[in-house]
């Protein structure tokens, strides 16, 4: 593939990189404990935690790389990091 002049790129390139494959620990969200504050979504470095119709949050495991920031920051301790089963 030829280089783009001036290293120019269309948006959406990050989507090509499916970082979910990097995951060793997986965040598991407990909606019983969740207060719907959205902190996990705000702080996720991949921007892969989305709000559902009821206001709960869940990660997109295609891109979640298992960094654990959401679990660390969750004020309700509603996110647990569990060993990935591969």
């Amino acid at each position: 593939m030829a280089l783009a002049v001036g290293c120019r790129a269309r948006p959406g390139k990050a989507r090509d990189n499916k970082t979910g494959s990097w995951r060793v620990f997986k965040p598991v969200f407990d909606h019983e404990k969740c207060s719907k504050c959205g902190m996990c979504s705000t702080l996720c470095p991949e921007g892969c935690i989305h709000e559902d119709a009821e206001g709960f949050f869940d990660p997109d495991y295609t891109y979640c790389k298992g960094c654990g920031i959401c679990a660390n920051e969750c004020p309700k301790e509603a996110i647990a990091m569990k060993q990935e089963e591969k």
Partner: protein, 384 residues
């Protein structure tokens, strides 16, 4: 039409006729008269452009990057410390392949503070990817802006360009210049047709990051574009000659060089003084000629080697010094002549505005005949 005017005003007028859509610059001696004149043109509706005032040169060129990426013909001007402050942005502009044109009223770099002329500023950015043109007189200084836009905007090039002219020596000198009309310039320089541009409806990013797997190829592509610029300059320079009678197709120019024993190589306004000195030396029977470098980037190595193939010795004058090494031009001329037995000597002179006279040129020729060189010429011994 021939008019007598200050160099800065002639350049500002030439820039106006190029119809830049965005200008961003920060005033600095000896460039100030140019940007003052352009600000007047915009304020008086003689030029339909955005003039973006900024807090410093780094911002000025950054504004030009945004404007150029958005598809505008852009212009800036600076010198010396101002250019030094743009160092980072210069590499970005070139790496993003944006055809910004910037006038450089060449001036020394501090410390010690000097507002006077030498060419250290633009020479110090020779690796940044910008094309570099150097003017001998105010006619060239004005004409080269048109040529620069034409070459820089060519889709096979897409690189920014410096148009360099000696600060004060040209910028503040009144002399006759053949001023082109808007009609002339419009015929020569069509509207800017960007290869790609920022568009909110169809987003794109410029100058993304490149991992080691990609970075060298980007630098290689820039180097290839520089080399292609030789042919594009030849074509655009010839077209300029056909339309206006002044042919800029050659990157270098010889003066009385055909039968010369000693060739002087130089760049910028000093070439005029050298030509006068050569005429006098010729009367005295000395076979001296000049090779003037008008385009320093891309560097015309092969052209120089060819033009100098018959001479007995070469004296290269540098208004810059790569401290700890030599003047930039002599290093590259010697490289161009690698493998030939022609001795090449360098002479660093005119730093920080030290005046260069005909007698200095004659002395340098005499030194080169004795095989003496690779020196700072004309130092005041009592100060060392």
């Amino acid at each position: 039409m021939m008019e007598i005017t200050e160099g800065s005003h002639a350049i500002a007028e030439a820039v106006r006729l190029c119809r830049p859509q965005v200008i961003s610059a920060y005033p600095i001696t000896p460039q100030t008269h140019i940007v003052e004149a352009l600000a007047d043109f915009v304020a008086n509706c003689q030029l339909d452009a955005e003039y973006i005032t900024v807090e410093n040169e780094l911002s000025a060129l950054s504004a030009c990057i945004g404007a150029s990426a958005a598809g505008s013909r852009t212009y800036s001007a600076t010198t010396s410390q101002g250019l030094a402050l743009m160092f980072e942005v210069c590499f970005n502009a070139a790496g993003m392949r944006l055809p910004i044109i910037m006038s450089i009223a060449n001036r020394a770099l501090g410390a010690p503070l000097s507002i006077w002329n030498d060419q250290q500023d633009s020479i110090s950015l020779r690796d940044s990817g910008w094309l570099q043109f150097y003017a001998e007189d105010n006619q060239e200084a004005t004409d080269l802006h048109l040529l620069a836009y034409k070459v820089a905007e060519d889709h096979s090039i897409q690189l920014p360009a410096f148009v360099c002219f000696d600060g004060f020596i040209l910028s503040h000198t009144y002399e006759p210049v053949d001023m082109l009309t808007q009609e002339d310039v419009d015929k020569y320089l069509p509207k800017f047709n960007p290869y790609e541009r920022l568009d909110a409806a169809d987003p794109i990013s410029f100058g993304m990051y490149a991992t080691p797997e990609y970075y060298p190829e980007f630098r290689y592509e820039m180097d290839q574009a520089q080399k292609r610029a030789k042919d594009v300059i030849a074509k655009a320079g010839k077209e300029f000659g056909t339309m206006f009678g002044r042919d800029y197709s050659a990157l270098i120019e010889g003066y009385r060089l055909e039968d010369a024993d000693t060739a002087i190589v130089a760049m910028g306004s000093i070439c005029g003084t050298i030509k006068d000195a050569i005429d006098e030396m010729r009367v005295e029977g000395k076979k001296v000629g000049l090779l003037k470098i008008r385009v320093f980037r891309p560097f015309p190595s092969e052209e120089i080697a060819k033009m100098l193939s018959h001479v007995k010795r070469v004296a290269v004058l540098d208004k810059n010094i790569s401290l700890g090494a030599k003047g930039a031009t002599v290093i590259e001329v010697r490289d161009a002549l690698y493998g030939s037995s022609i001795p090449v000597k360098g002479y660093v002179l005119g730093l920080g505005g030290r005046d260069v006279r005909k007698k200095d040129i004659k002395e340098i020729v005499a030194l080169s005949e004795k095989g003496q060189g690779d020196i700072f010429y004309g130092l005041r011994k009592e100060l060392i």
